[in-house]
Symmetry: C2
Subunit: 327 residues, 2 copies
């Protein structure tokens, strides 16, 4: 980056910190696309972060997460709390874009400076989405939001990784999902701080709650905080105040005995490692590991002309060797 | 590694290549645990790989994948084909170990040198499981198996990553899963070479097939190969010959026009990049990025004493700096 770029980044950061929504949108795009300015921008945003409550909301597609998130956001706005929402959107040709459409409508309906909604598409790279959404959350936080909601679709490893970055994780279930709780991806039950049974006017809500309770008694992953089970009907708003209260209670619990700090510490530990990994890979890409090189290596390995297990140590040594020769 | 280690590794590789099952089991453990000998072992195995057909089997928990895999394996064994099976096992406290138990029983029941079954647990690290299972598949292949089956539980990103490493990917569905096909994680439909509707004696098999067909007509991801839909009843063995035939046909199709080579090339491209990433991280761990260091950094970042976006470039520069000073 040139010095001019550097001052442009500082200017952009200042504008977004002061609440300029267009600057915020532009900054998110830079971070999401991993633009050359992204690191400097995130660095400038960092001092303005740490005060918002981050809430992750996850659950199977069709569980009604968007409606819940909308309802929660409206309630907080009425209480004058500023809210940012990141909706992590799968890019499957079958479902892609659905959430984005909903959210654009929501944004328009509210026409409210204290609410910012952004959709993010699934990245191809391993761990890319978790990293990108964490960085975007930082930027949104820096813009002065009190609450940042991160909504993911699905209950796979991606979602677990994303949810781990939140202070409070809400897992949304619905009655009548066939195998119900058992069908959830291993690991998703363990990350829940609050369970929501949405569409709880449907038959089977009792059974879902019973299953959650049975797993809790078996797992005992949370020694002190026993995740409450809240029943909601997102479309009518029933149970939203109770959910809001549960979040409030969880926040109170986190605020005591350094629990929030300890959670955030483990979160940063994971993220720093991931950031280092990414930085090392960039270094490698700049030194003999371009996309074209990799394709050639793969060709040669497939043809059994090159042994990948001897190739890779050689490549890595070369990355360091080239770096050594740089001025 | 010392010279003695090196010769021990060569000895172990020779024994497993010649069909020694105990050597195979030991080699897999070394690879799975990423032992210091792992790279040398994989390097020694590499020349003995490339001839087996790799089949990935994925689908929601409870879809009956293990039963299908067992039935397929028995059929191949009757035809004198040697089979290796990797069952990727989730480590959730709720479900962990179930598959492993089943598989130990299967192994005992058959008492057959031409069949090797191994369970693998979910790794914590991002992408770790895909890498580890691909390496284990290499070792099993080197032991002279004609077919290597990789069975995963669930349909998340992990499973997609693992399935991408196979020559043929089978996605197993069952009727009456609630949202059925729509509830599948985005991306899983696109990787299927063969769809299986298992438990097809249940009500709803027609509907599942119709949904798959509808998605196929919409997606058209496979221009030439249209994934067939095979109905099975794993418990009775119904449809297993048809599934076997479908695999055979896919293999024939792959064998023409360099399709198998082209698939394996893209697979190696992904894997080489991942291997480089891993090697770089190891380098970093050896130079100021130990677990303890990371914890200290995370503490300092949480306390807002350190900005992670300036810390990481500094850490990465130090990795190279330290490496430069080494003899």
């Amino acid at each position: 980056m040139t010095r001019a770029d550097d001052s442009a980044v500082r200017d952009l950061a200042e504008r977004l910190v002061s609440g300029d929504t267009r600057a915020l949108a532009r900054a998110i795009s830079l971070v999401e696309n991993d633009a050359p300015e992204a690191q400097a921008l995130l660095s400038a945003c960092f001092p303005h972060t740490g005060n918002a409550l981050r809430i992750g909301v996850t659950g199977a597609p069709g569980a009604g997460k968007s409606t819940l998130v909308d309802r929660l956001a409206r309630g907080w706005r009425e209480a004058q709390r500023k809210v940012g929402i990141i909706a992590v959107d799968p890019t499957s040709p079958f479902t892609g874009g659905a959430i984005l459409g909903d959210r654009i409508r929501m944004q328009e309906r509210l026409g409210d400076d204290g609410l910012y909604v952004r959709s993010m598409a699934t990245r191809g790279a391993l761990g890319g989405l978790a990293r990108a959404s964490a960085d975007v959350a930082q930027v949104i936080e820096a813009s002065g939001k009190d609450i940042v909601l991160i909504e993911t679709v699905g209950v796979g490893q991606d979602e677990i990784d994303i949810a781990r970055l939140a202070d409070v994780t809400i897992v949304v279930l619905v009655p009548g999902m066939g195998d119900d709780v058992q069908s959830l991806k291993a690991g998703i039950m363990e990350i829940a701080d609050i369970f929501v049974i949405n569409k709880s006017d449907r038959e089977g809500a009792d059974r879902v709650e019973k299953e959650i309770r049975a797993m809790q008694s078996f797992a005992q992953t949370h020694a002190e905080w026993i995740p409450p089970v809240v029943r909601t009907v997102g479309t009518s708003g029933e149970g939203i105040p109770a959910l809001s209260d549960a979040i409030e209670q969880m926040q109170q619990w986190l605020m005591t005995c350094g629990r929030l700090e300890s959670r955030r510490k483990s979160c940063w530990r994971v993220r720093i490692e991931e950031m280092v990994r990414q930085a090392l890979l960039k270094e490698a890409r700049a030194h003999g590991l371009s996309a074209e090189d990799l394709t050639l290596f793969a060709e040669s390995v497939t043809a059994k002309q090159t042994n990948p297990y001897t190739l890779v140590p050689k490549l890595v040594a070369e990355v360091f060797h080239d770096r050594r020769r740089l001025p």
